[in-house]
């Protein structure tokens, strides 16, 4: 009675892939692919909101804090709202209101050209600035 002989009767199942094998494989592939999608949704690229006035940095704040701030532009005040990891311009002194019509963004930027206000959503600062805790001036 060798152990190899005891197991001999299972030889037959080593011949092919069983239905359960295929189902398991399909399930794993589905899980991993939906995992990729989920990760992309749960951790969006943008993590910082950067507001520039006339090309100059005016505000920088995290995307995950819900706030409303007033940005002083060239011709008046632009209201920027951050909520649920999204940003939009709610009020603007400009005439065409394109910036308001852009609506919520979670990546890229909204621009109000007449008021020279640009709201960016981007990753944390570049290599050189990353180690900096605050900026004076």
């Amino acid at each position: 009675m060798k152990s190899s002989e005891i197991r001999r009767d299972k030889k037959v199942l080593t011949e092919r892939m069983t239905l359960a094998d295929i189902l398991l494989l399909a399930a794993l592939v589905t899980i991993s692919i939906s995992g990729f999608v989920f990760i992309k949704e749960a951790f969006p690229q943008g993590t910082d909101v950067r507001i520039e006035v006339n090309g100059k940095l005016a505000y920088r704040l995290p995307l995950n804090t819900n706030t409303t701030i007033t940005v002083k532009g060239i011709i008046g005040n632009t209201m920027v709202e951050i909520k649920n990891k999204k940003v939009r311009i709610t009020e603007s002194p400009c005439l065409n209101k394109i910036c308001i019509h852009t609506g919520w963004i979670d990546r890229g930027a909204v621009v109000c050209i007449p008021n020279r206000v640009t709201v960016f959503v981007d990753r944390s600062e570049g290599k050189e600035n990353k180690a900096i805790d605050a900026i004076t001036g």
Binding site: L57, T67, K72, I74, G126, N129, I132, D133, G137
Partner: protein, 358 residues
């Protein structure tokens, strides 16, 4: 044989089980040994005092950090309500309304910040002057309003810090001349940074950073045991890459910068910015940017403005006399620093980078 096999396999199973337990215990032990109260930086931003304020606190507990940060913010809110130039309900407005009429009794904070401002005025021979308010209101840097020369000349006699009478006993402030206006815009933010740091310390925070716009005060060390690293903005940045001109590591100190790039408009090629010379009523063209490093935010804030007006040569001389560190970018972009600062400062401006690669 089968029976023997079974016995052995059950023994092996027990062995394996013990091994597994051992592994789990090992990992749990390691985790509990290194994880307790790992210190982190907690950060919160708020728009107050017409600017963005960011407070960071290092703590092992998020709740504790948040509570301390909220305390610091409420301290700043209180100061904002006392010192706001534009709000009719502030103590400052009360002082201004009663100019030439009577002394106004104020809270210790308002008194203290005005006292500190007068001290800075004396040290800078009037180059920093909070009574500039009556002239400042003539200018509007958002709407690009440049006042008539006549208007400025009319108001200049109202600008003199010596006409602010402080009475320590009654904690009161009196402006001698009717129409005088105190504007604390050049010191209130630095003072607020001081008060916010005090509030954090009272709440048991050992390390943190308060940034009231560009007035920054840091204390303690970061979780990686390093001092805080502050970037100084390049006054003539062309793009995002050269936004930072230099960096400095510091702790237990405050830093402030005054620059001609913060609020300005250009008419006929001439730059009109918000730092006015109290002697002339016009924007001072002595420098591009001045950064001051000292213990108190109220000192750095007021002296960065005052030294901006004084200009590079006089400014460096005054700083050396007082034993305060500073970096001045002159009219032509030349960098002047006090001797102490030279080793501490890491300059990363474009011209420097080019030099090192040439």
């Amino acid at each position: 044989m089968i029976k023997k096999l079974k016995v052995q396999s059950s023994k092996l199973k027990i062995l394996c089980f013990i091994f597994l337990l051992f592994t789990v215990h090992c990992s749990l032990f390691t985790v509990s040994a290194c994880s307790p109260q790992k210190e982190k930086i907690y950060r919160k931003s708020k728009a107050l005092m017409d600017t963005l304020i960011t407070i960071s606190a290092v703590s092992g507990s998020g709740d504790k950090a948040e509570k301390a940060i909220d305390r610091a913010f409420s301290e700043i809110e209180k100061l904002d309500s006392l010192l706001n130039f534009f709000s009719d309900n502030s103590e400052l407005s009360e002082i201004n309304r009663n100019a030439g009429l009577k002394a106004v009794a104020v809270s210790p904070e308002t008194f203290e910040v005005i006292e500190k401002a007068i001290y800075a005025s004396g040290k800078t021979s009037g180059a920093f002057d909070i009574t500039i308010g009556s002239v400042t209101t003539l200018w509007d840097f958002h709407k690009r309003v440049k006042p008539e020369d006549k208007q400025i000349k009319e108001r200049l006699p109202l600008v003199n810090y010596k006409n602010v009478i402080l009475n320590k006993k009654s904690s009161s402030v009196y402006l001698k001349k009717r129409g005088m206006l105190i504007d604390l815009g050049g010191i209130a933010k630095g003072y607020a940074a001081d008060k916010a740091v005090e509030a954090l310390k009272r709440e048991g925070i050992k390390s943190g950073l308060v940034a009231v716009s560009g007035e920054i005060k840091a204390f303690g060390l970061k979780p990686d045991s390093k001092p805080w690293k502050i970037g100084i903005r390049n006054p003539r940045a062309k793009n995002k890459e050269d936004e930072i001109m230099a960096t400095i590591e510091m702790t237990g100190m405050a830093i402030s910068t005054s620059g001609d790039y913060e609020r300005y408009f250009i008419i006929e090629g001439k730059r009109y910015h918000h730092i006015l010379n109290p002697k002339t009523g016009y924007p001072s063209d002595g420098c591009r940017s001045v950064s001051i490093i000292a213990k108190d935010g109220s000192v750095t804030d007021s002296f960065s403005t005052g030294i901006f007006v004084l200009g590079a040569e006089k400014g460096i001389k005054l700083l050396e006399e007082m034993g305060i560190d500073g970096i001045i970018i002159g009219k032509n972009g030349k960098i002047h620093t006090t001797p102490n600062l030279r080793e501490k400062l890491e300059i990363i401006r474009d011209s420097q980078r080019q030099k090192s690669t040439d």
